[in-house]
Amino acid sequence: MGDDWRTYALIGGVLGLLGGATMAGQVLKRHPDTGLNAAAIRTFNLRVRAWWLMASVLAATFVIGQTATVIMFGLISFWALREFITLTPTRLGDHRALFWIFFVGTPLQFVLVGMSRPGARDYYDLYSVMIPVYFFLFIPIRIAWSGDYKRFLERAAKIQAGVIICVYCLSYAPALLSLNLKVNGNTVSNYRLLFFFVLMVQLGDALQYLWGRLMGRRIIAPAISPNKTWEGLLGAMGSAALIGAALSWATPFEAWQAAGLSLLITAMGFAGGMVMSAIKRDRGVKDYGTLVEGHSGVLDRIDSICFAAPVFFHVTRACFHVAATLN
């Protein structure tokens, strides 16, 4: 490939950014007199650690290829669903439905995504409806079969929501690798597209927090999340759009397109964080990882990715995807 330098530049840039963040975090930790809240610094350092993990995993995708990347996302999905259902009050009658979801629905979704190849077979028609239509119907059927009608609709709906968010929505992130994107007739690296997407979601999260801390005044929903403000959202969308435009050389997009998509990603990621906070509030926990001592859960880290992925995928697919002509 003639544009390897773009990949190296993108990864190198992110490593530089993370190195800077790590250093800033360590300096803040060693100087308790900066007037910053110690808990906030600890949270920041934990976040930076999670980002290092994410960045190294995503950088590895360039090497390990599509199949391994899809499997990895499948495992993350499985774990997130595990956390979601653990904190959802299910009953004995849901057991068999859950078994199918965990061991058939989830793997099947990722198998279909993994079998879709750019410029070759594309199972989009199947994986885009399997969970929202067929598993949507299957869940209440299987629960009804087991004969327990107590809180029936509530139980079915909660399981459906869990599968859609943790499995269906997340699977659109690795599905980016199956797009057949052409810019001026040239094939573009899908790995860089995935990297760009996750990078923008994470940057959106960080920017939202930063803007909220600096000038946040109007809280959107105090009962759900006291640090999600209008200023944070709009500031993050604006600055993410600028950064996205500046990074357009790494993507298949023009600068203005990259800006628009970054704006969209940030807004959806923000919304995802809010929805998941609302669910956690209702269940009376702070983090999905409460059962796992010492660190917050996988779902806390990927909530914004889950919400942004399908939107980013669909817009990109609708505007830039070239359907393969199979003989």
């Binding site: 595990r82 059962l291 796992v292």
Partner: protein, 200 residues
């Protein structure tokens, strides 16, 4: 070897996070007593122990369940070396407590479920008297309360396939039978010790 692999699998399926509260893993002789929620209980509590402790610890389990089928018999006798108790035929001269005391000798520990059978969702049933007699006949044993959370959802009663939710195993500070403490008082205290661990 098989034990290590099995323990890893059990921990993976049950997603168990292990907590030790005011208690540390030790190879001294102990009786771990836990609430009983699922057939996985014995296996998962056993798997939660560090390897050196695990090698010295025998779960006490129901003969009628663990002797059924070749896989279960293999696991219970060869891998985690369970002490199988016949729940249907309890003889006067061969009481389960005497059997346990004989089997553990001077170095082994036990995992017991004093409720006797699995309790319905969330509740911890009355404790049977075995724990009291164990404490009375062997006052040197440390009685360690263990709380098992959420395993009943991983493998509920009457199901044979697990759903991999997350669970939590909590070990609490050991207790002993106090001087002059009546059977009922002791059993209630022991039960409360297990129940209290859920809130911590």
């Amino acid at each position: 070897m098989t034990g290590t692999v099995l323990a890893a699998i059990a921990k993976l399926i049950s997603g168990a996070s292990v907590r030790w509260l005011d208690c540390a893993p030790d190879t001294c002789q102990r009786v771990y007593f836990a609430n009983h929620t699922s057939h996985l209980d014995a296996l998962v509590v056993w798997a939660s122990l560090p390897q050196d402790v695990r090698a010295l610890t025998r779960p006490v389990a129901a003969k009628d369940y663990w002797e059924k089928g070749r896989i279960r018999r293999y696991l219970s006798t060869k891998v985690f070396n369970a002490l199988l108790i016949d729940r249907k035929e309890i003889k006067v001269h061969q009481s389960p407590v005497d059997l346990m005391i004989r089997e553990i000798g001077q170095d082994k520990s036990l995992i017991v479920f004093p409720e006797g059978s699995r309790s319905p969702e969330g509740e911890i049933g009355e404790f049977k008297s075995g724990l009291y007699y164990l404490g009375k006949k062997r006052p040197d044993l440390e009685l360690v309360p263990v709380h098992i959370d959420n395993l009943n959802r991983v493998l509920p009663r009457g199901e044979f396939l697990p759903v991999p939710l997350l669970s939590c195993i909590t070990f609490g500070p050991p207790i002993w039978l106090e001087k002059g403490e009546s059977k009922d008082d002791f059993l209630t205290r022991a039960r409360n010790c297990v129940r209290r661990l859920k809130e911590l």
